[in-house]
Amino acid sequence: MSILDVRGIILHFRGVAALSDVSFKVEPKTIHAIIGPNGAGKTSLLNCISGVYRPQHGTITFDGIDISRRSPSARTKLGIARTFQNIALFKGMSVLDNLLIGRHVHQHTGVMGGGIYWGFGQREEIEHRALCEDIIDFLEIQHIRKHVVGTLAYGLQKRVELARALALAPRLLLLDEPMAGMNAEEKEDMARFVVETAEERGTTIVMIEHDMGVVMDLSNSVTVLNFGEKIADGPPEEVQRSKEVQEAYLGEPAEAAELSA
């Protein structure tokens, strides 16, 4: 059974259609890429899945539960985590505190328990700190765990954002351009982390990415959007050969252009 089933999503902003009738399925423990030219509606689609936008029509089913009408925080509790295209970390907090916010939905300390601290609050904090340290080790960011996030380099901030999403221990991870603006070495590291997340942690990943090399190498399946419509869907090799995809990216083939001229 697919873990994520998106059906007939229609999203428009005051007459501007962002997504028209988009459907796709994601199988558990796979990496699914969403690609398409700028303005194709990729981030809008991700926002619909994470609950930032509410589409006018269509259903989103996560692990058999219809989540279309649920709030973003309710979806997070079910096990959906995401990162943002323009990093949306808590800039005034340390790396560790950012990760601990990722543990928020799994913690139970209230105002009184937290304020009194010694006893339940401390025990829980130590327990979750240990889980965050696992992720810090996994993503190799031990040296910056106490640094304030706003002072870190861009590539590291991207990695911290992935760490924060992983701290949620999600079953579905939505990545919005995890490799944008990175150099080759940082990209290789990030690609390794994405693959390991899927393979070792068993997390399903839906990823928007522009780097075709990365998409072809990492993903098990690909959905292609153009002007808010799905134009192709399937394994990367198949999608690569699709005529419509080639047209969307490269324009019409030369012969066709000549004929129509």
Binding site: V52, G92, Q107
Partner: protein, 347 residues
Amino acid sequence: MRCGDFRETYAEDMALFETAFARRMMIAFIALMVALPWLASGFWLDIALRVLIAVIAAVGLNILTGFTGQISLGNAAFLAVGAYATAVLAGRWNLPFPLVIPAAGLITALVGMVFGVPSLRLKGLYLAVATLAAHFVIEFGISHWESVTGGVNGISIPSPKAGPLVLANDRQLYFLALPVAASLLLFARNLFRTKVGKAFVAIRDQDISSEVMGVNVFRYKLLSFAVSSFYVGVAGSLLAYQARIISPENFPISLAIDQLGMIIIGGLGSILGSVFGAVFITMLPELLRLVTSALSSTFPELTTLFASVKMGVFGLAIVLFLIFEPDGMAARWHTIKNYWKLYPFSY
């Protein structure tokens, strides 16, 4: 001084005091505070009491404005709610102070939550204006609900008592306010080491991504209003006990501005900063008064200028702090501490 400071457990890494030295300094400071009534005159004891009350209120405001990022101008009104709740509970119902003070806090927390509802839609300056409305609504209510509040004539509050124990003078009141302030400070420090406090800071830094991380933003904003107003209500309660008679004039809008000044000068988002700011802003006029009275023999016209000089220096202090230490006195304190950390070898 910090060489060879290694931590082996997460509990050690999350401790309140980074070093044993810091813990000993805090114990010494607490001992000094306990001994203060025997060291200070009545005049200074009165100021110390006002400082303690201001510290509680400033920590409360900082929880809301500094840590959660919700600007509030309703603090004077919330202080009034705590003070009037005390007047009614202690004056009319004759309840003992161990009940009155937390009850005043809880009542203020409820009122604070009600006026926190606009924060669902309003942010920044717009929320500030909405809380300004809270100030005038509450002020109007207090002035006109004469059967309960005594209206503009004010209302008197008996000395705090619990059974045979009566706290009749400033010294005894000081020993009530000191443990209350100390435990509330500790509570606040602990709060920001755990889930709820971190969620507050997350909302300040990035409200959309905190929602996506599973923080129920509106609920936590209301919770922040409640916790903050609880602190302010407790401060209002102690203020009423100290003042013995209160009227709406005790809670002007300028009091709310003073408290914003405290947390800006002290340091937004810092418990220590709230303490520094409260001490500074409360002591400033008293220190100015001492200076002017010392100079009045040589410059007799200074006494008449006093009122305007006070406001001028207050404004100047805020401006200078915003320019030279925008992160407040707490940040400067950390800079100084870090300088001495490796003394005498700075590398």
